[in-house]
C-alpha cells in the first residue's frame, strides 16, 4: 500500500516534470511568475528535479523513503512561491497563492508517504526465499525437523543442540563475535511446516517459518522460508550480515541452495573458487580456480 502510494507520487513527479520541461512558459504563467526574467529557466530546473524524484520513486525497491526528496523539493517550491506571492499584486498574486495552496497539499501527501516509508524501514526485517527440492516432502521435512542438521547447510551456524522436543540451543560464529541463543518451536505440523522463534532475553530476536508443499505434478517439494528479525535483533542481524559481507536475503537464498544440494546430492557442492560452497562473501572474494594446496 505504502509502495503504491509512493509510486503514484512518482508518476505525479513524472507528469509535473514533463510539463515543466515541455511548456515552461505556461507553467510560469500558471504560477503568476511569468513577469520574472528567469522564470522559464527556473521552471525547467524544477522540471529536471521532478524527473529525478520520478526516477527514485518509480525505480527504487523501497520507494516510500525516497518521498523525503519530494518533501525537500516541496519546501523549496513553497519558499519560491511564497516570495513570488508577496512581491506581486492582482491576478499574478492570486495565481501564485493558488499554486502555493496546491503545492502545500502535495507536500502534505509527500510527507505522509515519506513518514510511512521510514516507519516501514524501521520495522522488523523480513526476508523470504523459496526453493524446489527433488525429494519427497516427508524426507525433506524430516531432515529440517532434526534441527541439528541445520548447520550442514546454514553456513553461519556453528551448531544447533536440541534441548527437548521444542527447545534448542543455537550457536553462530561470526568473524568477530560469537552469538548464542535459545529457540523454541511454536508451531509444527508434521510434513507441512515448522515455526520457531528465539526465546525472549536470550540474545537475539528472531522468528522463522518454513513450509513444505508438494510441487505441482509430482515435482518434489517446495520449501518456503520466511525469517523475521525483530527490533532488537534487526540491528544485530544486519551487523552479522555485514560482518559476513552479505545481505540477509542473499544468506537465506544461499542456505536454501545448500539445503537443496545436501538433499539431492548428499553434501554441499564445492569448487576450488568457492571451497565452502554457496556463499555470498565468496562470490565477492573468490580463490583462484586452481587446486587448493596441502593434503586434506
Amino acid at each position: 500500500m505504502t509502495d503504491r502510494f509512493a509510486r503514484a507520487l512518482g508518476w505525479t513527479s513524472l507528469m509535473l516534470g514533463t510539463a515543466h520541461l515541455a511548456a515552461p512558459k505556461a507553467v510560469a504563467r500558471l504560477c503568476g511568475v511569468d513577469d520574472a526574467p528567469g522564470a522559464t529557466t527556473v521552471a525547467r530546473l524544477v522540471g529536471g528535479r521532478e524527473l529525478l524524484h520520478a526516477a527514485l520513486l518509480l525505480g527504487a525497491k523501497n520507494p516510500a523513503q525516497w518521498a523525503w526528496t519530494r518533501v525537500a523539493g516541496d519546501t523549496m517550491d513553497l519558499g519560491v512561491l511564497g516570495r513570488a506571492a508577496a512581491n506581486r499584486t492582482g491576478t499574478r498574486r492570486a495565481r501564485a497563492l493558488a499554486a502555493l495552496g496546491v503545492v502545500a497539499g502535495i507536500a502534505a501527501l509527500d510527507a505522509a508517504c515519506a513518514r510511512r516509508g521510514t516507519a516501514k524501514a524501521k520495522g522488523p526485517l523480513q526476508v523470504r526465499a523459496s526453493i524446489t527440492i527433488n525429494k519427497p516432502r516427508e524426507e525433506v521435512y524430516r531432515f529440517w525437523r532434526d534441527l541439528e542438521n541445520l548447520p550442514s547447510f546454514m553456513i553461519h551456524l556453528d551448531s544447533v543442540r536440541t534441548l527437548d522436543q521444542r527447545r534448542s540451543h543455537w550457536k553462530a560464529n561470526g568473524p568477530i563475535v560469537r552469538l548464542e541463543w535459545e529457540a523454541e518451536i511454536i508451531d509444527e505440523r508434521a510434513g507441512d511446516l515448522i515455526a520457531w522463534r528465539s526465546v525472549p532475553g536470550t540474545g537475539i530476536s528472531t522468528a522463522g517459518l518454513v513450509s513444505f508443499t508438494e510441487g505441482p505434478g509430482g515435482r518434489g517439494t517446495v520449501v518456503d522460508v520466511s525469517l523475521e528479525y525483530g527490533a532488537p535483533g534487526r540491528k544485530l542481524a544486519a551487523a552479522v550480515a555485514r560482518m559476513f559481507g552479505e545481505h540477509p536475503e542473499q544468506q537465506v537464498r544461499d542456505d536454501l541452495r545448500r539445503f537443496k544440494q545436501v538433499m539431492e546430492t548428499g553434501e554441499v557442492v564445492r569448487s576450488e573458487g568457492s571451497p565452502e560452497g554457496h556463499r555470498a562473501l565468496r562470490q565477492l572474494r573468490q580463490r583462484p580456480a586452481q587446486p587448493i594446496g596441502g593434503r586434506a
Binding site: Q250, Q261, E272, G273, P275, Q283, A289, P291, I292, A296
Partner: protein, 389 residues
C-alpha cells in the same frame, strides 16, 4: 603439477600449481592425457570475462585416466579411461532428470553470482569463469572431476584419445545443433560458422539424414575443411548469403538454420556488458551480430533456427516480426553433453564418424600459450589444437 593458467589479459602461463584433491565424496581425480583449446577459451584469455581471476586453470575439453575416486563414486576406479563432459551435472535434480545437464541446479557453487546477471543460474563448467562455478579446468596434468559418477564416460576399448576427446564438448555441441533442427529426409540445412563446431554440426546433419548442408564462413581454409564432410560452402565476403541461399533452395530457403557463430554483444553498463561477454563463446572470431538475424531471415517458412553459438545478453533489432509471421521455431542451449556421449561414442565405434578430422595442431601442454596464439590469430590454418600433458 603443471597447468595452463590465466595470468592476465592475453597472458597465459604454464605454472606449477598444487595437485588437485578430493573435495566432495563424488569427486574423481583424473590424470589428463589429452585436452583441447576451445573457441570459447579465447574470450576468457582476452580478458573480456570479469569473473576470470589470475591463477585460474583453463580448459573444459579433456580426458584422461582416473587416479583416485571419492567414497561416493562406485562406477569408476583408478586406471579407468574417461572422457569428461564440460558441464558439471549432479544427475539428481529436476534439470538432470530431464536430461538438461547444462542446467544442473546443484553444480554451480556461485549460482548467486550467475543469478544476478541471468535471472537463474545454469550448471557449473570446468575452467570457465567464477560465475560458472570457479572450477579449475583441464589444461593441466590433473583435474578434479565433481559428480564423477554421473558425467565421465568410460572408454573401454582401444580407441585413441583423438577419436573420443571431442565427446567432451564440440562433437555433442555440433550434434545437438543438428538434432534441434529435427531433420527429415530431403531437407537442406544451412550452418553459419565453419569452425570445429560448425564442422561437427555439418557432419551431424548428414548423420541425421540431411540431404544438403550449406556452410557459411569467410576463412577459405575452414570452408575447405568443412567441404570434406560433403557440405557446400558460401564465403560471405564474396556473396550475398540471403540471395545465394534463396537461389540454392528453389526460392524457399533452408529447412533449418544453425547459428554456430554466436555474437559479440555490447552494453554501456559495465555489469551488463560483463554478462554479455561471459555468455559469449563464439566458435569463430566474429564481431558481427547479424548472424542470428540472417539465419532467421534465411530460414524457410515454418522452419527451425538452431542456436549453438553462445549469446550473452540482449539482441538489438531482433526480427521478431519474421519469427512470428513465418512460424519459425528457435531452439537453443549450452550442450547437454552427458545426453549425447553414449550414443555418439557408439557412432564413433561403428565407424560412422572419426571426430579427429577437426585436429590441425598437436603440441605438448607446455606449449599451450603458443597454441592459443595460433588459434586466436588463425595462423598456420589453425583449426583445432590438441594438447598433451
Amino acid at each position: 603439477m603443471k597447468a595452463n593458467v590465466w595470468a592476465g589479459r592475453n597472458r597465459l602461463e604454464i605454472e606449477d600449481v598444487p595437485d588437485p584433491r578430493i573435495l566432495n565424496a563424488r569427486d574423481a581425480i583424473v590424470r589428463v592425457t589429452s585436452t583441447a583449446i576451445c573457441g570459447s577459451d579465447l574470450h576468457l584469455v582476452d580478458g573480456y570475462i570479469p569473473t576470470v581471476k589470475k591463477g585460474d586453470v583453463l580448459g573444459h575439453e579433456f580426458m584422461g585416466e582416473v587416479v583416485e575416486v571419492g567414497p561416493g563414486v562406485r562406477n569408476l576406479r583408478a586406471g579407468d579411461r574417461v572422457v569428461v563432459p564440460f558441464p558439471i551435472a549432479c544427475g539428481a535434480c529436476f534439470a538432470c532428470e530431464a536430461e538438461l545437464y547444462s542446467l544442473c541446479e546443484n553444480s554451480n557453487p556461485n549460482a548467486g553470482m550467475a543469478e544476478k546477471l541471468m535471472g537463474h543460474s545454469p550448471a557449473g563448467i570446468f575452467g570457465y569463469s567464477h560465475m560458472l562455478g570457479g572450477f579449475p579446468g583441464g589444461q593441466a596434468e590433473y583435474a578434479r572431476v565433481p559428480f564423477a559418477d554421473v558425467g565421465p564416460i568410460k572408454i573401454e576399448d582401444d580407441l585413441p584419445d583423438e577419436k573420443v576427446l571431442f565427446l567432451s564438448d564440440i562433437f555433442p555441441t555440433g550434434f545437438m545443433g543438428a538434432e534441434m533442427c529435427d531433420i527429415k529426409p530431403g531437407q537442406t540445412i544451412a550452418i553459419w560458422g565453419a569452425g570445429p563446431v560448425g564442422q561437427f554440426a555439418a557432419a551431424s546433419a548428414f548423420l541425421l539424414g540431411a540431404d544438403r548442408v550449406i556452410v557459411i564462413d569467410r576463412f577459405p581454409y575452414r570452408l575447405r575443411r568443412v567441404q570434406r564432410t560433403g557440405a557446400e560452402v558460401l564465403n560471405y565476403e564474396e556473396v550475398n548469403v540471403l540471395d545465394a541461399l534463396r537461389d540454392m533452395t528453389g526460392g524457399r530457403g533452408p529447412d533449418a538454420c544453425i547459428d554456430a557463430v554466436g555474437m559479440e554483444a555490447h552494453h554501456p553498463t559495465p555489469a551488463m556488458y560483463a554478462y554479455d561477454r561471459t555468455k559469449q563463446a563464439a566458435r569463430l572470431e566474429t564481431e558481427r551480430p547479424y548472424v542470428l538475424r540472417e539465419a532467421i531471415m534465411a530460414c524457410r517458412n515454418g522452419g527451425v533456427v538452431s542456436v549453438i553459438g553462445v549469446y550473452g545478453g540482449f539482441v538489438d533489432k531482433f526480427p521478431m516480426g519474421t519469427v512470428m509471421n513465418r512460424s519459425l521455431t528457435i531452439r537453443t542451449g549450452q550442450c547437454h553433453v552427458q545426453r549425447y556421449m553414449e550414443p555418439l561414442l557408439d557412432r564413433i565405434r561403428a565407424g560412422e564418424i572419426d571426430p579427429s578430422f577437426v585436429i590441425s595442431h598437436r603440441m605438448p601442454l607446455s606449449e599451450a600459450p603458443r597454441g592459443f596464439e595460433l588459434f586466436k590469430n588463425k595462423q598456420d590454418e589453425c583449426n583445432k589444437v590438441v594438447l598433451t600433458p
